[in-house]
Symmetry: D3
Subunit: 65 residues, 6 copies
């Protein structure tokens, strides 16, 4: 029954997401012994202009980098 909710910035391809959910599921199963069929992973995306660290959006931080 474990649920793994990933939040990341956009830009991953379908293939990268495919690999990400597989790797996260395997990591969960390896470290807890859970059954693979019981593991759900969802991948949510939040744009760089809607995510901040220290009060500054990732978009603005990247523009200054």
């Amino acid at each position: 029954m474990p649920l793994i909710q990933v939040v990341q910035t956009p830009g991953k391809t379908a293939e990268q997401k495919r690999e990400l959910v597989r790797e996260l599921t395997e990591a969960f199963v390896r470290s807890t012994g859970a059954k693979p069929e019981s593991v759900w992973v969802t991948v949510n995306e939040v744009a760089a202009d809607s995510w901040s660290v220290a009060g500054e959006t990732l978009a603005d931080r990247a523009a200054k980098a």
Copy 2:
């Protein structure tokens, strides 16, 4: 003050969402006695290529079905 956050795959019409939030609110009120005005429901969508069970995306599982 209850909050009901639904996460589902895309594809529901506005009319289906209208019925879903009404039904979920009524179900909550019936089983807890909460006041309807206090119940919030949000419906979030996660694409089939971003949701996995047993390490396999719903998109890939559907393609094999």
Copy 3:
């Protein structure tokens, strides 16, 4: 695959939770045609001193009521 995450204040009995998850699942199935086995419901609790409306905690609002 739908996920219904409920957030409410503490105090519901195991029996009330039992009825709540059953009612919410049936409401979801009725309005979307989803298979019952595909529906997950989680019930999370947030204390009244950790939940606010209009900047005032539910605990303080209740104390004034």
Copy 4:
């Protein structure tokens, strides 16, 4: 390490989001003494037809107002 996840209806400009994440971070730092670099804010959007109060979507409530 605090995480502030905002959920709101769409329509805010990039500038409004910039101000929102800055204000929320400053508010958090002021009231808890946390280090600004440790504060993450994410802003998620849920459409008015996917958000309900008292079983009625914000879209329908607005249409009647």
Copy 5:
């Protein structure tokens, strides 16, 4: 209708939470013009042994600091 879900480590007093939810609500209202009564804030706590950065729990990082 905005919802602000805070996740932080335990240890804040009721008074600190009182101030936090008030400050976050005021910050939201100031930067978006939302009505205070429409703003919900919830404060969830995750223990230091259940929160990690760079794969290391906050508890272990603090023990080494």
Copy 6:
């Protein structure tokens, strides 16, 4: 900046959580190339009487198993 929010039933030891957050972080870094320091993992617990599948709590399902 990726955020991995795990929701699982209680009962894991501190050591199991330590391994879980490490494994999930490594899995994320391997499949996306993200910097480890940018990856946050939180582990939330929901009791078996507050989590349901097909409208039946995990506690009741386990009692019948």
